[in-house]
């Protein structure tokens, strides 16, 4: 059971590669210099830069080197930003865009397509569901009363697409479960009844704060059968640690 989403894994792998390169270069340099420039004769060292108390020492610089290690990291940074851009756009795709489509009509399916090379999941349409956070439990609603700006739906989602149940989870107690279908994409509309919370859908590697007095949204593109935990990740008081839920995805 993977703990992170493929989208995350692809970015992670790329970043790890560059981290190893940069880290290796830096630490290699550090270890090399730490050994090869050890003092051989204790305190009697050649005073290359004319170090004397009360005298500002001679400048020690090399413009070409300094430009090099300004420009090269800058290029790397631009590259890393560039490869992070598309995932960013995908994660916060607008409803109605190519990646997400419009809201599903009755009987329509999202027909999710998973692209293994990027980790993106494209859907033809999406279903709107709701999660509410309050101290200290989550509640799901498959057929929320949200108003026109969020959903145009005038029918209830079938039980196959979305169902709410509960389950005893070791340590957390009796917690709500949302049963979703693999291959479908859901738009989660969220709000809090009291303070700020944040549901972390572990396997989807995604989270977004839920706030009082405002609605926030998050995409849940389901691709495979799995069961994953949802944890609260914005400190909300006493039982913050025990505020959990389960996402159960069936085929």
């Amino acid at each position: 059971m993977a703990v992170t989403s493929p989208l995350f894994d692809i970015l992670w792998d790329e970043y790890i590669l560059w981290s190893l390169l940069v880290g290796g270069f830096t630490f290699g340099w550090l270890y090399h210099h730490s050994f090869s420039y050890r003092s051989v004769d204790g305190e009697n060292t050649p005073n290359v830069d004319e170090i004397k108390v009360g005298v500002f020492p001679k400048h020690n610089d090399d413009l070409r080197l300094e430009v090099a290690w300004t420009v090269l990291p800058f290029i790397l940074i631009i590259y890393l930003t560039y490869i992070s851009w598309a995932p960013l756009d995908h994660v916060w795709a607008e409803p109605g865009s190519d990646a997400r489509g419009d809201e599903c009509l009755e009987g329509e399916s999202s027909a999710n397509i998973f692209y293994a090379d990027t980790g993106f999941v494209n859907s033809e349409c999406y279903h709107v569901i709701e999660i509410t956070g309050q101290q200290w439990f989550w509640s799901f609603d498959c057929d929320p009363d949200l108003g026109e700006e969020w959903t145009q739906r005038d029918f209830n989602l079938s039980a196959d697409l979305c169902a709410v149940s509960s389950q005893m989870i070791e340590g957390y107690g009796m917690q709500p479960v949302i049963n979703l279908k693999a291959g479908e994409t859901y738009l989660l509309v969220m709000e809090s009844e009291d303070v700020t919370h944040s549901p972390w859908f572990l396997q989807l590697s995604t989270k977004e704060d839920v706030l009082q007095g405002q609605k926030t949204t998050m995409w849940l593109p389901m691709t495979e059968v799995s069961e994953s935990l949802v944890l609260c990740t914005e400190y909300c008081g006493d039982s913050h640690s025990l505020m959990a839920a389960v996402v159960s995805v069936h085929s």
Binding site: V3, T4, F8, L11, S19, T26, W29, L30, S34, R38, S39, V40, G42, T45, P46, V48, G54, V55, F56, P57, K58, N60, D61, D62, L65, E66, W69, T81, S84, W85, P87, H90, V91, W92, W136, M168, I169, E170, D194, V195, T196, S198, L202, S205, K207, D209, Q212, G213, T216, L229, T233, E234, Y235, C236, G237, D238, S239, H240, S241, V246
Partner: protein
């Protein structure tokens, strides 16, 4: 002298009064919000328990056997219950260990530790449940609430009037005698008091060592009064170091308590409530009461020495900056010993921080922070003014030592960002105290406003604490390698660049907050960019060693260790601006790992480095090298043992600020397909438990390893070798003075003027200290008339 005595004693009384405030919560507790029957009782049925109801719990042994199942009979007598009524009563049984489950439909289970009656079962006065004893040794507590109702559910007054309830608490013991579990508050109080007493003893001892012949009150009182009233930058610096190290220890104790709680999954050493207070205070203490004072200590001591100034620009204000810190600390800690301390996290997010579910101690936490904001603002004014106007002749801006530059940049960042935090704090304080509505969502208040104000300060703040460490490392590597720092000018521009950019990246703390997506992208870009100046600095340090002659001392080791840990912290930091990854990492242990790498591996290691480097100058004694190397090796290794595994834990799904975690277990089926072990869905894979234990052990070892440094300091103060003026071969002005420096640090004051201030010469050929065209114009702007100058 008599007046002084009375005044001193009055002051002591005040201080004692102030300390007394710690133990007393500031006001009556407000209800803490939703909590189980176990804590509040059946208070829907009446405010207080009633003696007429007698709960009974039978079937419990005095000592249980492992994993044995016991049938328990729960009942009650008394109260208004009557068999002729529809309803007679109910119960709630909570057990601290083992599991309890229903025997029939009259009982239901809330969770494995708690059962209660069902609708069908509320017309009885007796129920049966099964309790399975734990498989290990714990003293088990049973808390039973029973209520006796008068059956008037249909009456106009409502169903709960006239009902009575009571509670019963029974403890049984395990087969093997176990000690009572420690109360974390007792542990914390004891450790803090012990530390404080040890501190006083050491101070008294030092006083005695200095004057063995005159060890009496007549000499002691003026000595203490001298320290309480000092405005000399060196003494204030020493006070900052003392306070900083003291609170570093306190913060460390809290960290150990937190780690003990996280040692095993599902642990109950700390309750949720206690844990929440402890991590809040750990963060607050470490940043505001340990890191900032230690940096201020180094700055106070070294900056005037490095620029050749006799003292800071505003000495009394400097003392005021210091004294606001202990007073602020007292306020911040208010309530923690009685369970009502602040529990908001050091980031204190709205609307939780203004809600009634946050503890009352939160208001005092806010008040203490307001005092610390004032302290930092005054410090900022002082240092910026000092560095701007009191540099010795010959020292232009581009001839200042890099530590001084780092303090200048840090203070500029600090005092421009901290007022925003101060305003946010005042808004929260007023919300909690007089009832303004800044963060009251019901009236239109916006919690994101706090996030913006806080992080506008919060991000520059973390650069404020790392930049001085950069300064220290620059000094130490250069001196150790017997070279001048590589690329002095780009080092200055890099620090200044970091200072400026730090103000426009704070959005990266708010990526999941519902912020506008465009802002999120901009912040991603700027956050990525801040790696460039930081990288320049790291490469410059490495290049400094080039062609040099590295003399290995303890401070050299710490500087090289810093390069390792800070680079690692910086690299892990680069993962966050990639927002699709941040959605996974936010509020997980990956964040904890990153910031501890840069804060401990960066700031604290940098400060340790500075201590070893400047201790001979400050005290006139050399520190023991062998103890220093031992400290470095043990601390460096155990430190990495603590924080490196946290990266992996974060990726696996261990969330921050959670008092405990659970392990997932895969389903195990036997040969015939029957289920041997049921699947348990938990957040973390089983290896996580082992890593957490490993981390806790390393944490305890790390804590003790730092005591080696404390011991080293004390021993060296007493009988360390006498230190020369320049033991390491540095060039800046502090190495010109004696060890320790005289008072005033440079020059002498005669006839209303300072004489004999040092002059900096420059080994490079350019004209020093001539104002540039901009400088001349600026000078004309600032100096009003010639007459003042001539006087």
């Amino acid at each position: 002298m008599n007046r002084e005595k009375i005044a001193t004693r009055t002051l002591v009384i005040f201080v004692v009064l102030l300390i007394g405030m710690i133990a007393v919560p500031s006001a009556t507790s407000l209800p803490t919000g939703v909590a189980g029957v176990k804590d509040l009782g059946c208070n829907c049925h009446g405010a207080v328990p009633s003696d007429s109801v007698v709960p009974t719990l039978e079937g419990l042994p005095e000592t249980y056997n492992y994993s044995e199942v016991y049938i328990l009979n729960i009942g009650f007598s008394g109260g208004p219950a009557d068999p002729s009524n529809i309803n007679q009563g109910g119960f709630n049984l909570w057990v601290s260990d083992g599991t309890v489950s229903p025997s029939d439909a009259s009982v239901q289970s809330w969770n494995p530790n708690e059962v209660s009656h069902t609708d069908a079962g509320n017309d009885q006065t007796a129920w049966t449940v099964e309790w399975t004893a734990p498989a290990n040794d714990r003293n088990v507590e049973f808390i039973l609430h029973t209520n006796s109702v008068n059956g008037n559910a249909g009456s106009p007054e409502g169903g709960t009037s006239g009902d009575e309830w009571n509670r019963l608490s029974i403890q049984i013991s395990s087969p093997v005698v176990v000690l009572e579990q420690a109360n974390p508050y007792t542990v914390l109080t004891t450790l803090i008091i012990v530390s404080f007493v040890l501190l006083l003893i050491v101070l008294t001892f030092i006083f005695y060592q200095n004057n063995p012949d005159s060890f009496d009150w007549e000499n002691f009182a003026p000595w203490v009064a001298g320290w309480l009233t000092t405005t000399d930058h060196k003494r204030v610096g020493t006070l900052y170091f003392l306070a900083g190290f003291f609170f570093l220890g306190i913060g460390g104790i809290m960290a150990i308590l937190i780690r003990i709680q996280l040692m095993v999954p599902g642990n109950d050493f700390l309750t949720q409530d206690q844990y929440n207070q402890f991590f809040t205070l750990h963060g607050t203490t470490m940043i505001f009461l340990a890191a900032m004072p230690l940096i201020n200590g180094a700055a106070n001591w070294i900056v005037p020495l490095q620029i050749g100034a006799p003292d800071l620009a505003l000495p009394r204000l400097n003392a005021m900056s210091f004294w606001l810190q202990p007073v602020g600390a007292v306020l911040i800690f208010t309530g923690v010993f009685s369970g009502t301390g602040a529990d908001t996290g050091w980031t204190g997010y709205a609307p939780y921080i203004v809600s009634e579910t946050a503890h009352v101690g939160t208001t005092m936490w806010v008040a203490g922070q307001i005092l610390l904001v004032a302290s930092s603002t005054l410090t900022g004014i002082n240092f910026i003014t000092t560095i701007a106007v009191m540099r010795a002749p010959g020292m232009g801006w581009m001839q200042m030592p890099l530590f001084t530059w780092s303090i200048l940049v840090a203070n500029l960042m600090l005092f421009l960002s901290i007022p925003a935090f101060g305003v946010g704090l005042i808004q929260v304080y007023l919300d909690r105290v007089i009832g303004t509505a800044f963060y009251d969502a019901a009236s239109g208040g916006d919690p994101l406003l706090w996030s913006h104000l806080f992080w506008y300060f919060g991000h520059p703040e973390v650069y404020v604490v790392i930049v001085p460490a950069f300064g220290i490392i620059s000094e130490v590597i250069a001196t150790s390698a017997r070279r001048s720092v590589f690329g002095y000018r780009s080092m200055v521009y890099a620090m200044a660049g970091i200072g400026v950019v730090s103000f426009i990246v704070y959005g990266h703390h708010m990526f999941t907050s519902g912020m506008d997506p465009t802002l999120r992208f901009v912040t991603m870009l700027t956050t990525m960019l801040v790696a460039v100046p930081t990288g320049i600095k790291i490469f410059n340090w490495l290049m400094t060693m080039n062609g040099g002659s590295l003399v290995y001392r303890t401070h050299t080791l710490w500087a090289l260790g810093f390069l390792v840990t800070f680079t690692l912290g910086g690299i892990s930091g680069m993962f966050f601006p990639s927002m699709a990854m941040d959605l996974h990492f936010h509020e997980s242990y990956f964040v904890v790992a990153h910031f501890h790498y840069v804060l401990v591996g960066g700031t604290v290691f940098g400060l340790f480095c500075g201590v070893y480097y400047w201790f001979p100058k400050m005290t006139g004694r050399m520190l023991d090298e062998r103890l220093g190397v031992l400290h470095f090796l043990t601390a460096f290794i155990t430190y990495n043992g603590i924080f490196w595994p946290m990266h992996r834990l974060g990726v696996w799904g261990m969330a921050r600020r959670h008092h405990t975690y659970f392990i997932s277990v895969d389903e195990v089926r036997g040969v015939d397909g029957e289920v041997i072990t049921e699947a348990v869905i938990g957040a973390l894979p089983p290896e996580a438990a082992g890593w957490n234990m490993f981390i806790t052990v390393c944490a305890i070892l790390f804590f003790f390893s730092n005591l080696i440094m404390i011991a080293n300091i004390i021993i060296s103060l007493v009988r360390g070798k006498k230190a020369p003026a320049d033991p390491w071969g540095g060039w800046s002005f502090e190495w010109m003075t004696s060890s320790p420096p005289p008072t005033p640090s440079f020059g002498r004051f005669e006839n209303g003027e300072w004489h004999d201030l040092p002059t900096l010469t420059d080994a490079n050929e350019h004209i020093a200290n001539e104002p540039s065209r901009v400088g001349t114009w600026f000078n004309k702007l600032m100096v009003a008339d010639k007459e003042e100058v001539e006087n």
